[in-house]
């Protein structure tokens, strides 16, 4: 257990003597810091660290540190935590100078990428060595970002566990519920950042403000101590009549708590109620009573009350708890999959294509090959049918011609090796930026662009080369299957479509990215326009035998 110094809080009540510092690392961390800067929510030193100079130059925080100036030359880490780590090592003196002399250091990071996952452990280590309390607020990647990023995130998390005093983990997958489906993507981004900013503010308030019933760091850590746990966080503030229950209602509304449903499972729950001078005992009592209905009897409730004149007439309720990942997932699967899953299914491909302008077409079109695959695999009774199905998807052909066309261009043009790397970096960076945020059901390119535009612009000189390099690498990877071996294999009922065979290997190489896709509409037959019945990641409306066959093929 970490020592907590009580004396400063007892001495002073007006201004907090604890010096706080918030560090944002990488793309996600940076945007949260921007949010905090704009809201002026927390009284703290704000430091943004990034390897990518372009992102950093847009950051709003007063202190900026470019990681690994010599090593990276202002380019992002490209999803490689090793690079991020090296970069942070290069800049460790700078980091130390920036964060030295603070009592509490919050590190804010989106795990899974390069800079965040790599640099965060180093920064945490340095922070620890300055003798401060170190908190980590981290987001775990979306599941559709693939296994690899998840492993990276988890590796990084493991390293961070020993170096921090408390971990506040957010599951990006749950963030999708923060906004209404029709809201613009920017709003979704902002809301996610806001939530994390709120949690930072809440935690710093809980620890720093003197309380009538005090909550300390020990309470916080015990509320968050679940192995491989994810943070359940809810915050609500209300004023006026009935403000107590209103604040609680808002806190419970937080998607991370899932309307209070997730609280049924928690072992420890931290509740912090803060209000102005007008806070009454009755109000506190009624809040706790209402909350009691949402929480099982055996839950250990850590309760704190603070009077903060700054709050004036309003009351704020903060709920913090944690839940094991497995529990969370089962619950989430049981509760609202109908809203969550189709959301991803629809939005992701188009989102990728909208944001990662050049590299995405492959991702987007690969899944289109799937229905074909299924069709000629199963179409045992009629031959003309699949042809019709193919005609329905003309973009398949377009894509095909698109892939094959650039080949000569590339051969003619000498593409330097560096640029290829550059392109790779750019690609991952762009997607990373997106993936920290929320899947948006209506990802109109117009709304997406503002967020990434500066970076895409920066790459414009290389963009033409980029697209071709990428395509060549793809084409080069799949030369063999082109002469339709699959057709021969299943000759009697194969549709006359070579492109399907050509696409197939792509499906396997980029399986991770398309893993989130469920049944393709064609397979759903008469249930095409109904809400999919999802279970265990399968769309049950697709014929059982078809799914079985697909599984056997893998």
């Amino acid at each position: 257990m970490v020592e907590y110094h009580r004396n400063p809080t007892t001495e002073l009540t007006t201004s907090s003597p604890l010096k706080t510092c918030i560090v944002g690392i990488g793309g996600a961390g940076g945007s949260v810091l921007d949010r905090i800067t704009m809201d002026r929510a927390v009284d703290a030193t704000l430091v943004t660290m990034h390897t990518d100079i372009r992102v950093l130059s847009h950051s709003m925080s007063p202190v900026k540190i470019q990681l690994g100036v010599e090593l990276m030359r202002g380019v992002g880490a490209g999803g490689d935590p090793e690079l991020g780590r090296e970069a942070a090592m290069y800049s460790r003196e700078q980091i130390r100078n920036a964060i030295q002399g603070h009592d509490i250091i919050f590190i804010c990071v989106g795990l899974g990428g390069g800079t965040g996952s790599g640099a965060a452990p180093i920064v945490a280590e340095i922070a620890k060595s300055t003798g401060a309390l170190v908190f980590l607020t981290a987001t775990m990647p979306f599941s559709f970002e693939g296994k690899r990023r998840l492993t990276q995130a988890e590796d990084s998390l493991k390293q961070l566990e020993n170096r921090t005093d408390a971990l506040i983990l957010f599951e990006n997958n749950r963030m999708g519920e923060l906004t209404l489906p029709k809201d613009g993507i920017q709003k979704a981004f902002v809301q996610a950042d806001q939530l994390i900013a709120q949690s930072l503010r809440a935690v710093s308030t809980i620890i720093t403000t003197p309380g009538l019933v005090k909550l300390g760091l020990d309470d916080l850590t015990s509320a968050l101590s679940t192995s491989n746990g994810r943070c359940l966080f809810g915050f609500g503030e209300a004023r006026g009549q009935n403000r107590g229950s209103e604040a609680l209602k808002r806190a419970l509304k937080s998607p991370l708590i899932d309307q209070g449903r997730l609280l049924h499972q928690t072992k420890t729950l931290l509740v912090h109620i803060a209000g102005g001078d007008s806070l009454t005992l009755v109000e506190v009592d009624s809040i706790m009573k209402q909350l009691g209905k949402n929480v099982p009897d055996q839950t250990h409730i850590l309760f704190g009350v603070a009077v903060d004149p700054k709050l004036g007439e309003s009351i704020s309720v903060t709920l913090i708890s944690s839940l094991g990942l497995t529990q969370l997932n089962t619950l989430a699967a049981a509760a609202p999959p109908s809203e969550m899953l189709p959301l991803k299914e629809r939005s992701m491909p188009s989102m990728l294509s909208a944001v990662a302008a050049k590299p995405a077409p492959q991702l987007k079109h690969v899944p289109a090959a799937e229905p074909m695959d299924m069709l000629f695999g199963n179409d045992q009774f009629s031959q003309p049918e699949p042809q019709a199905a193919v005609v329905e998807q003309p973009d398949m052909f377009e894509q095909e011609s698109f892939t094959s066309e650039p080949e000569p261009v590339v051969n003619a043009e000498e593409i330097p090796f560096e640029e290829e790397i550059f392109e790779e970096v750019a690609e991952t960076e762009v997607t990373e930026q997106v993936s920290h945020q929320i899947p948006e059901p209506e990802p109109e390119p117009e709304t997406v662009k503002p967020i990434v535009r500066p970076r895409i612009k920066d790459f414009i000189p290389t963009s033409t080369a980029r697209s071709t390099t990428h395509l060549t690498s793809v084409v080069a990877r799949t030369p063999t299957p082109k002469p339709t071996p699959t057709v021969e294999e299943e000759a009697p009922f194969a549709p006359p479509l070579n492109s399907v065979a050509a696409k197939k290997p792509l499906v396997s190489t980029q399986e991770e990215q398309i893993a989130f896709r469920f049944g393709v509409d064609d397979d759903r037959g008469r249930f095409k326009n109904t809400e999919p019945a999802l279970a265990g990641g399968e769309d049950l409306d697709v014929p059982t035998w078809m799914r079985l066959k697909r599984k056997l093929k893998k």
Partner: protein, 405 residues
């Protein structure tokens, strides 16, 4: 008191719309006066997608039920289903005030209120909240706690809720006929009233009503409802699987399923062929019977497994086994598959005997609509008896309120 009331149960199913008119007698028996069915269109997976089509079919069914029974229906008990329906058990604890030791009606109400006050999503609406039991000072299985001495009273509730919009759409659809909806009932709850008897409920049983679009289930334990829900899979899915496997139209697949289909494919010789004909009787082609049956088997098994997954924790306590009802339970060999999945005794059952049109209650297709009548009867029995004068007064008040609006 030989007073009887006439009720109408309406189920808008995926394959058929069914209206059952029944007379509920005061002594607890039911007499079926008329049954009207019409093939359903515009319903998918238990949910209405095309209002106009459903209303046409509904009118058909209504006429067919009203004619033989010579009853004009004004209000119905509407059975609803669909994948959006969920259930949960909730317990509300109420501590009696210090100066009071005997439990009163108010305390029970308070405990109920606490139990029912569960956070469900804003879009959801409560369909049923069934009292499972009361617990007085930790002593379980108290049926009626009023008048008992105790300090803490807990009410154990089983709460079934569904998406408000979907439920209201069903009600709206019926109102436009126009028919008044007296109550909305989850079909599984209704069917269980007539499929499961008291013994089966007490010993622990699982009833699965596999209909056209959904498989609704209710699980009883110690006479109390322990789990319920809906798997949005049903006979329609089997038909679709066949249609897509054989590349034949949906209605042909339905015919093949009903006339030839079976879940058993092990003992069928591989060369046994089956002719598939088109609408005019021309032969479209031949298929292996074993292949057809395997397609059916896979889907049927999956439906049952999905139900099993959802009530996994209770499966071990089903002494009375599994009861299959609903149209799809007529599938040949489904009991063998169910036996395999649940490893429990499997009974295929229709409704318990009622008087009237006898062919009706034996047919598992009508379990749910007959159950609706039974449900109405049970509700009525629970209601305090009102004198005719009072009832008249209430009716007048209703009328007045309508006029004033």
């Amino acid at each position: 008191m030989a007073k009887s009331t006439i009720y109408a149960g309406l189920e808008i199913g995926t394959s058929k719309i069914c209206v059952v008119i029944g007379e509920a007698k005061r002594d607890g028996t039911i007499k079926i006066l008329g049954v009207g069915t019409a093939p359903s269109r515009g319903v998918r997976k238990g949910e209405i997608i095309d209002f106009a089509k459903v209303q046409t079919c509904l009118n058909d069914a209504l006429v067919r039920a009203e004619e033989p029974s010579d009853v004009m229906i004004r209000t119905v008990f509407l059975g609803v289903s669909g994948g959006h329906i969920e259930s949960m058990n909730s317990r509300g604890a109420y501590r009696l005030p210090e100066d009071q030791s005997e439990i009163t009606e108010d305390d029970v109400e308070e405990a109920k209120e606490i139990a029912r006050n569960i956070p469900i999503s804003q879009d959801n609406v409560f369909l049923h909240s069934v009292t499972r039991q009361y617990i007085v000072d930790g002593q379980e299985a108290v049926r009626n706690p009023i008048g008992r001495e105790g300090r803490i009273l807990e009410a154990d509730y089983h709460i079934i809720h569904g998406l408000r919009g979907r439920v209201q759409n069903a009600v709206k659809c019926v109102r436009e006929i126009p028919l008044e909806v007296e109550d909305v009932v989850f079909t599984a709850i209704a069917a269980a009233q007539v499929v499961l008897n008291r013994d089966a409920k007490a010993q622990g049983s699982l009833m699965i009503d596999i209909g056209g679009g959904t498989a609704d289930y209710v699980l009883y334990e110690d006479g109390m409802i322990a789990a319920s829900g809906c798997v949005p899979l049903g006979g329609d899915h089997i038909t679709q699987d066949i249609a897509m496997a054989l590349q034949i139209p949906h209605h042909r697949a339905e015919d093949v399923k009903v006339t030839e289909g079976s879940c058993l494919f092990d003992d069928i010789p591989p060369d046994e062929m089956l002719r598939i004909e088109d609408d005019n009787g021309f032969v479209l082609g031949e298929i292996e019977r074993a292949f057809l049956n395997e397609v059916i088997y896979l889907r049927t098994r999956e439906i049952l497994e999905q139900v099993k997954v959802r009530c996994q924790e209770h499966i071990g306590r089903l002494a009375a086994g599994v009861y299959l009802t609903g149209g799809t339970s007529l599938m040949k060999g489904i009991d063998v598959v169910a036996q395999d999945v649940f490893e429990r005794k499997v009974t295929r059952a229709g409704s318990a005997p009622v008087s009237g049109v006898t062919a009706t209650f034996e047919n598992p297709q009508f379990s749910a609509p007959i159950g609706l009548i039974r449900y109405a009867q049970i509700l009525d029995q629970e209601k305090p008896f009102m004198s005719p004068l009072k009832r008249l007064g209430r009716k007048m008040a209703d009328l007045l309120s309508v006029i004033l609006l």
